[in-house]
Amino acid sequence: MNPAVAARLRDVAPILTLILLVLVVGIGSRGFLSPETLLVLAADTSTLFIMAAGITFVILLGGIDLSVQAVASMSSVVMALLLPSLGYGAFPAALAAGALLGLANGLAFTRLRVPSFISSLAVGGIATALALAFSGTRSIPIGEELRHAYLWWITGRMLGIPAEIWLGLIVLAICLFVERYTLFGRWSLAVGAGEPAAVASGVPVALVKLLACVVSATLAAFAGMVLGGRLVAGSPTLANEFLLPAVAAVVVGGTALTGGVGSVWRTLIGALIVSVVRVGMTFLGVDVFVQQIVLGIVLILAVWITIDRAKIPIVK
C-alpha cells in the first residue's frame, strides 16, 4: 500500500471502527440504538472523555500521565469535604488541588528531569496518600440537600440532555480551541514532533511540558468532581478503575504514544469506542472482569499500530 493511502486510512480508521462497532452492537441488541440508551452511553462516556482529554496533551508531546486516577479521586474527596462549608467554592478548590499536583508532577518532570511515567506514578502515590489523609480513609457521602443546592449542574438535565454531556462538550470545545488556536497547543505538537527541532526554534519546551502536566491534572480533577457528583460521594478510591480506559481512549483514538500526532477530537472518538466496546460486551453478557482483560489487549494493540518507530531507535 502506498504510504499516503496508509496514512489516510490510519486517519479515518478510528471513526470507521466506531461506526462499525455501533452497527454491530445495534444489530446484536435491539435496545441499543434507542435515543435513551445512546444518551446514557454518551453521559457515561463524558467522565472518561474529560480525563482522557487531559492525558492527550501530555501524550501529544511524547510523555505520559499515570497519576490521573489518583488525582481524580483526591479531587472528589476535596469537593465532598468542602461542599458543606464553602458551597460553590468547593469546586474551584478541588480543581486547584488537582492543578497543584499537576504542577508538582510537571516540576519533577522538567526541573528534576525525572521521566514522566515515573514522576506521574510517584505523584499519583502522593495524591492517593493525600486523599486518604483528608478523608480519614473513608468514603464521604454528599447530603441530599447539598446535592440539590450545588450539584444540579452535574446531575441535572438541560434541554432534555444530561448535564454531563454538556460538560463533556464544553471541555471538548475548550480543548479544541487550546489545541488549534493557542501557542501552547501548537507548541505541544511541535515538541512531540521533534524535541531537538523545537528547542532549536526557540520553543520554551520545559514550560510547555509543565503546562501540559497541569492541564492534565486539572482535567483529571474536573473528571473526579463530575464522577463524585454522579455517585454523590467523594472517596479516595473513587476513580480507581479509570486509568486503563482513559489511556486506552487516547491511544485507540489514534494519538501516538511517541507524540506529535493526535488531537483531543481523536480522543473523543477513542473514548466513545471504549464505551461502546464495554456496553457491547455487557449486552453480550461478557463478565465485567473479562472486559478488563479485553481492554488491556486492545490498549497494547492500539499502541502497536499507532506508535512511530522512527522516533524511538531503541525501544526501552
Binding site: A108, V114, G125, I300, I307
Partner: protein, 327 residues
C-alpha cells in the same frame, strides 16, 4: 559493582562515594529512627523488619534486572495477584479439591515465567515501550485473577504450606530465608552468568551492543521472563503469609518495588546498580515504613513518602550528560 562486565572508567573519589550513598542512607535512617524510637532497634523489631522485607525483596530482585536494562516493569501487582491466587487454588483450600502442597511452587513459578515471557515477547517483537506493555499486562493479569475467583477470595487450609512463610528457623521466619536464597540466586545470575553480564551491557549502551553478536532481543525477553519468576515467588510468599488468595493481593506492591530499586541506587537509565543495591534499597524502604508506624505516623502516609522518595532518588541519579531529552 563487581558485576559489570564492562568496567567503568576509573572512578573519581566523589563517584566512588556515590556508589556507597545508599548504604550511608540506610545507616542514617536506622540511626535516626532508633534515636527517636529506641524500640526500633530491638531484636524483635529487627526480625519484624526482616519479615516485612521478604516479599518486597523478591519482587524488587526481579524488577532490578529490568531496570538494569533501562526498561521498566509495571506488571508487578498483576503477576503477584495471579501468583497468590494460583497458589491458593493449587494447595489444599476452601474452594476446590486440589492438594498439591509444595508441588504448587514450581507451577506458580512457571506461570510467573510465562507472564514475563509474554511481556518480553510483546515488548521486543512488537517494539512497544516496556512501560506500556507491562501496564497493559498488569491489568490483564489482575483481570484473569479476578475471573478465576469470580471476585471472591480463597482461604488456604494447608497449614504445612503456610510454614513456608510462617515457620521459623533460628528464630527467623522461613519467608526471610526464602528471600535470602532468592537474593543469592539473583546475585549469581547477575555476576556469574552470561545473561547477567549481557543485561548490564544492554543497559550500558544498546546501540553499540547491536553491532556485536549479543542477541539483544533474546536478552530482553529472558530478563522479563526471569523477573516474572521472582514476582511469582512473591505471590507464593504472599499467599503463604496471609493464608489466602484474591485478585487485589498485589495492591501497593508496585510502588514499594520501584521505590526500593531506585532508592538502592540502580539507575533508571540502565547499566548501573544491581542486586546488592536492591537489598539495601528494600531495607531502607521497609525500615522507614516500620519506623514511621512506631512513631505513630498513619500507614497511608507511606505511599506519599515513597512517592517523594522515588522522585528524589531518580532526580539525584539522573546522569545529565547522557540524557538530553527526557520524556
Amino acid at each position: 559493582m563487581a558485576a559489570s562486565a564492562i568496567r567503568l572508567p576509573p572512578a573519581s573519589r566523589i563517584e566512588r562515594l556515590r556508589a556507597f550513598t545508599p548504604v550511608i542512607v540506610l545507616v542514617v535512617v536506622f540511626a535516626v529512627i532508633g534515636a527517636i524510637a529506641p524500640a526500633f532497634l530491638s531484636i524483635d523489631n529487627l526480625v519484624r523488619i526482616m519479615n516485612a522485607s521478604a516479599i518486597p525483596l523478591c519482587l524488587a530482585l526481579g524488577a532490578t534486572f529490568i531496570i538494569l536494562m533501562g526498561s521498566i516493569d509495571l506488571s508487578v501487582e498483576g503477576v503477584v495477584a495471579m501468583g497468590a491466587v494460583l497458589t491458593a487454588l493449587l494447595v489444599q483450600n476452601g474452594a476446590n479439591a486440589n492438594d498439591l502442597g509444595f508441588l504448587a511452587i514450581p507451577l506458580v513459578l512457571l506461570m510467573g515465567a510465562a507472564f514475563g515471557f509474554v511481556n518480553g515477547v510483546v515488548h521486543v517483537k512488537l517494539q512497544i515501550p516496556s512501560f506500556m506493555v507491562t501496564l497493559g499486562m498488569s491489568f490483564i493479569a489482575i483481570g484473569i485473577a479476578t475471573v478465576m475467583l469470580a471476585g471472591e477470595r480463597v482461604r488456604i487450609t494447608d497449614t504445612t504450606f503456610r510454614e513456608l512463610a510462617l515457620g521459623r528457623v533460628l528464630g527467623i521466619p522461613m519467608g526471610v530465608w526464602v528471600a535470602l536464597a532468592a537474593t543469592l540466586v539473583a546475585y549469581v545470575i547477575q555476576t556469574r552468568t552470561r545473561l547477567g553480564r549481557w543485561i548490564f551491557a544492554v543497559g550500558g549502551g544498546e546501540d553499540i551492543l547491536r553491532l556485536t553478536s549479543v542477541p539483544v532481543g533474546r536478552v530482553r525477553i529472558l530478563a522479563f521472563t526471569l523477573a516474572g519468576v521472582f514476582y511469582g515467588l512473591g505471590g507464593i510468599l504472599s499467599a503463604a503469609q496471609l493464608g489466602q488468595g484474591h485478585a487485589l493481593m498485589g495492591q501497593g506492591r508496585l510502588f514499594t518495588t520501584i521505590t526500593a530499586v531506585v532508592v538502592g541506587g540502580t539507575s533508571l537509565m540502565g547499566g548501573q546498580g544491581g542486586v546488592q543495591n536492591t537489598l539495601v534499597g528494600v531495607l531502607i524502604v521497609v525500615g522507614l515504613a516500620n519506623g514511621m508506624v512506631l512513631m505513630g505516623v498513619p500507614p497511608y502516609v507511606q505511599t506519599g513518602v515513597q512517592g517523594v522518595l522515588i522522585i528524589a532518588a531518580v532526580a539525584l541519579a539522573v546522569d545529565r550528560s547522557r540524557a538530553r531529552i527526557i520524556k
